[in-house]
């Protein structure tokens, strides 16, 4: 669309699975008649001959020859709507028209404003009570969110965040954490085809102040604050960013259980190491929430036992090379590693960086490495440029130190650990300014 504005007639080619999304994005950008042509899904994995057949075949959306769509899209004279584009203002009201509770519940379901679990209806009284959880004005702009970089950013206020917190069943004292997550600019409802979820790590005094669980069952459904804060983050993400509707504002092929809740609250007192937020430059008395857009995988293990190095190496190799792991260790495991000489998290991370290796051909064959890292390598951006010079069977590093995160969580009923897909970019948000 930027090329059209620069005076260059353009046609964008998509696979047919993205037809609804592509048209929705064009409309939201004021250019609903953008010329688009479609080929069958997928393009990935198809041979040159198969792709040539796509080009010589039929556009599965328009049912006309694909090549005709391309040529006419570039040469057909413009109609009036092509010249004017489409201008419009959308607004969302503060309050919905009064209705019965049953009808409102149905409206929320039909509008896809829920996660299909029962919600608490955000009455004026409940939202007022929720707003007492922060000193901030209800009309203050908190931030902007969108499901993907291709879409427009939607804006929202403190009150709108409070509304979604009520829906999730949260208490007012949780609101500063929820506001910090909303202010992060990181969506908990990414539209990525990879079905990303956003992993959230909470640190600092707020954990105890609001009764969060970092002990037995911390990553499961066993605590009101953990459960409802995680849920509120999901609900506010989908509602404040303009939706998370399959095939329009959500394209995750398989979806992700972690989208319901991916809260990790660090067990700072039982950890032999400094807390996660202190590692990243905060003071212990500060409270933070750290967000990683990823959540693609979970790998489980115990120990460290005699063969831990083999198990860890295999587990790291099983991680996706584009998104390094959050290594969540029960305190028993963390202290076990300390006793093995890993007296800082950084030492354990360095060990992982050194031992997480793949043959170069396998690393570069990964779809997301190919899509996102390979162009950087070709452009001369390090470390990818040097890695691209490796022979096909050379074992190359999958991760850099800042790709791997270590968090201590759990209640010491078992020496267990998980590697959970993290993400390529860590966002740390201070909670205290939202009190």
């Amino acid at each position: 669309m930027a090329l059209e504005q620069g005076g260059v007639p353009s046609v964008a080619v998509h696979t047919h699975a993205f037809a609804r999304l592509a048209r929705s994005v064009a409309r939201a950008n004021g250019m609903p008649t953008t010329r688009q042509a479609f080929v069958p899904q997928p393009v990935v994995g198809r041979s040159p001959a198969e792709l040539r057949a796509y080009i010589e075949g039929t556009d599965p959306v328009s049912k006309r020859p694909f090549a005709q769509e391309i040529i006419e899209g570039l040469t057909q004279p413009l109609a009036a709507e092509d010249v004017s584009g489409l201008s419009f203002e959308r607004s969302t009201p503060r309050l919905l028209p009064p209705d019965t509770e049953d009808n409102l519940r149905q409206l929320f379901l039909d509008s896809q404003w829920t996660d299909f679990q029962p919600i608490v209806l955000p009455t004026e009284e409940r939202v007022e009570a929720m707003l007492r959880g922060t000193s901030h004005d209800r009309n203050e702009i908190v931030g902007r969110l969108r499901p993907t970089v291709y879409r427009e950013l939607w804006e929202f206020t403190v009150e709108k965040v409070a509304v979604n917190a009520v829906m999730a069943g949260a208490k007012p004292e949780y609101l500063p954490v929820i506001l910090a997550m909303a202010a992060s600019g990181v969506s908990g409802r990414s539209s990525s085809t990879t079905s990303q979820a956003t992993v959230a790590i909470v640190n600092g005094p707020i954990r105890d102040e609001i009764g969060m669980n970092y002990g037995v069952g911390a990553m499961g459904p066993y605590n009101h604050a953990n459960a409802t804060i995680g849920r509120a983050y999901g609900l506010l993400s989908q509602n404040l960013q303009g939706g998370s509707v399959p095939q329009e504002t959500y394209m995750g092929s398989q979806g992700n259980h972690l989208s319901y809740n991916a809260m990790i609250v660090e067990n700072e007192a039982a950890s032999p190491w400094v807390p996660f937020h202190v590692q990243h430059g905060r003071k212990p008395e500060q409270s933070t929430v750290s967000l990683l857009l990823g959540g693609w995988y979970t790998i489980f293990g115990g120990g460290p036992r005699e063969t831990w190095q083999e198990k860890f190496t295999r587990s790291l190799q099983a991680c996706d090379p584009y998104t390094g792991p959050v290594i969540a260790l029960d305190p028993l495991v963390a202290r076990g590693f300390r006793d093995l000489g890993f007296d800082t998290k950084e030492k354990l991370i360095d060990w992982c960086v050194e031992h997480a290796r793949l043959p170069a051909r396998e690393y570069w064959d990964n779809q997301w490495i190919q899509t996102l890292a390979h162009p950087r390598a070709v452009a001369g951006i390090e470390p990818y440029a040097s890695m691209l010079k490796a022979a096909p069977d050379e074992m190359i590093r999958m991760f850099r130190a800042n790709d791997i995160h270590v968090v201590v969580v759990g209640g010491e009923t078992g020496a267990m650990w998980k590697m959970v897909g993290g993400g390529p970019r860590l966002t740390i948000v201070d909670i205290d300014p939202w009190r």
Partner: protein, 96 residues
Amino acid sequence: MADKITVHDPRGYPPKVTGKRLAPRPLSLDGKVVYLVDCLFDNSAVFMEQLKDWFAARLPNVEIRGIKPRESWVDDPAMRAEIEANGDAAILGVGL
């Protein structure tokens, strides 16, 4: 009859949309320069190579030039400037 209640709308505020025009079209691509923009999705380079071959076979009077942005999913103003300076049309693709 059940009582009616008032609740908040949970949605955020969308931006105002301003209409944008499409670029004027040439009557024909004969003698024109068309850029094929490889958006760097996996296998899109192969698709674009096939599209280039298709033009060579079916519309040989169209000059096809391949181009790609420096990075995936990141705007590349230099690439756009080159297309705007030297191209008559562009085909972008292709997604997943």
